[in-house]
Structure formats: C-alpha cells, structure tokens
C-alpha cells in the first residue's frame, strides 16, 4: 500500500500547488478575473463581482490546506465543487459557441480559450479531487 500512499501524496501536492497558483493569479487582478467570468454571460454582474472577489481566495485556501495536509476532506470537497462549477461553465460556453478566454489559470486576454481540452483538464482535476476525498473518507472510517 506504500505506492498508493505515495500516489495520493503526489496528487494532493499537485492539486494543492495548482489551486494555490490559480488563486494567486486571480487575486492579483480581480478586475480581469471579473471580466473573464462575465464573458461567460451566465451570471448577473453583482454575482460576477462577488465571485471574482471570493472565489480566488477559496482556491488559495483550499490549495494551502491540501498542501499542508489539514482539513483534507473539506478542502478536496471544495476543489470538487469548484471543478464541477468550472465544468458546467465551460460546457455551456462550448455549446453556445463562445470564443472567450477560459479564466482558469490565467486572466489575461491571451489565456487559453475555452474548449474541449480545458474541459478534459477540469474533469481530470475533478477525478483527482474525488479520489482524494474518498481516500480521506475511507481513512476516517477505519
């Protein structure tokens, strides 16, 4: 079971670092992130601004918790929920044919566009978060 433990550790560190990076990039420029969210045309502008202010910090805090190994169940659950939201948003943008920046790990206008590749990436992160969440649940049950 050592290999399994190592894999879980690597997943945890990877997701933690990824979401810390993702959060910091957006915290530096909330206005640009708000514009990226608004480009999806899914939310009233008030919610766009609130999301632009709060969501990056949720990513950062959940990332730090994953990295330091505290509150692993809640932090991996948060990452799961975030990825589900991202997957819904990207899927909807693809179906509406929107040619917009993803706003995922960069808020610049040259950032990666929404598309199937970004969708697959988020599905991968969702799977990693589910595996981490389940491993914690099983661990706490023992």
């Amino acid at each position: 079971m050592k290999l399994q433990g190592l894999l879980l550790l690597l997943m945890r560190l990877f997701l933690g670092a990824l979401f810390i990076y993702s959060g910091v990039v957006k915290i530096i420029n909330p206005a640009a992130f708000a514009e990226a969210i608004d480009n999806y045309r899914m939310l009233p502008y008030l919610f766009v601004t609130l999301m632009a202010i709060i969501l990056p910090w949720v990513e950062l805090i959940a990332g730090v918790l994953l990295l330091i190994g505290r509150w692993l169940r809640s932090s991996s659950l948060i990452i799961m929920l975030l990825n589900i939201v991202f997957i819904i948003a990207i899927t909807s943008a693809i179906f509406r044919g929107l040619d917009i920046g993803c706003g995922c790990f960069s808020v610049s206008e040259d950032a990666a566009k929404v598309g199937v590749l970004r969708l697959l990436e988020d599905i991968l992160y969702l799977i990693l978060a589910i595996i981490l969440f389940r491993s914690q649940t099983i661990e706490s049950a023992h």
Binding site: I28, A31, L46, I53, A62, R73, S74
Partner: protein, 164 residues
C-alpha cells in the same frame, strides 16, 4: 462521515475567503468594483454589439463619465480632431492629434492604431461635428470600437484638467 464537521470547515474556508477577498480587493489597484451594473467598457461593448446586430455603421456617443472610466481602464486611444494649434493649446490628457481637415495625411497614423482598443474622438463640442465625422470615417476604415465624446473639450474643461 461527520457531515456537520465537514460543513463547518467549508463554512470557515468560505468565510475566511470572503474576509480576505473584500479586504484585499479594496487595497488592490486592479480591484473590482462591486456593482449591479456592468462597467462602461463591457456596456460599450454590448452597445456596439447591438449596433452590429442592427447592421448600423454609426459610432456610439459617450459622455464625460464614460470617457473617464475608459481612461481608467487604459484600453483607449483618444483622438483630438481639432487643428494642431488648438491641440497644443490644451487637450484631454494623452490624446493624439488627427486633425479632421488633414485626414489624408494621417492615414499612416490611423493604420497603426490598435483595432482592439476603444477609439474615442472629440473636438470642442457642439456645434463642432468633426469628432462625429472622424468616428464615422474610422468605422468605414474597419475599426469596430469607435465612440465620440460629443460634448467635447468645452465640457471636459468644466471639471477636468487639460494637458498643454
């Protein structure tokens, strides 16, 4: 699984994120302003989109407050359409001079303008219509994001400084 504990931890994360988010957003020069209404840049984009949907080639009119917000967003080229002499005597800060009467001499300058930025033209204000005419010319030249500040420099000078 202790659902209550899980919910409490998630609540703490969101509460901490909200606290930190609002605190840092206020201090951040790139902070977002909480508002029900979209900022002018997006509003202007949407207005432009409506124009295109209606197949109208009319540039849009903006006021001083909208112009100031576009300047803050930095994604803007301001064009003073008056004569070089008038331009030197006083202009909206960071404006460039493309005299409407010498449009043909300024084609190279116009070609070099970024098509992705908003272009706002102005002159003294009514009855001067050079800003509107140049804006219409720019649309004909293929620029999509063109507006004119109809009230012009006369209006600007009432509350804002000019550059000399």
């Amino acid at each position: 699984m202790n659902v209550k504990k899980l919910a409490a931890e998630i609540g703490v994360v969101f509460a901490a994120a909200a606290l930190l988010g609002f605190a840092t957003n206020d201090l951040n020069p790139n902070g977002v302003k909480i508002s029900i209404n979209r900022p002018v840049k997006q509003t202007a984009d949407a207005a432009l989109q409506r124009h295109q949907e209606l197949d109208s080639a009319e540039p849009i009119v903006i006021g001083k407050e909208q112009l100031k917000r576009l300047v803050q967003a930095k994604d803007i080229i301001i064009i003073d359409t008056r004569t070089p002499q008038e331009f030197l005597q006083g202009r909206i800060p960071n404006a460039i001079n493309i005299p409407f009467e010498r449009l043909e001499e300024s084609i190279e300058t116009i070609d070099s303008l970024a098509k992705t930025s908003w272009i706002v033209t102005y002159c003294d204000g009514p009855p001067c219509d050079k800003a509107q005419l140049l804006a219409a010319e720019l649309i004909d030249m293929g620029f999509a994001r063109v507006a004119y500040y109809d009230a012009g420099l006369d209006d600007w000078k009432k509350t804002e400084g000019v550059q000399q």
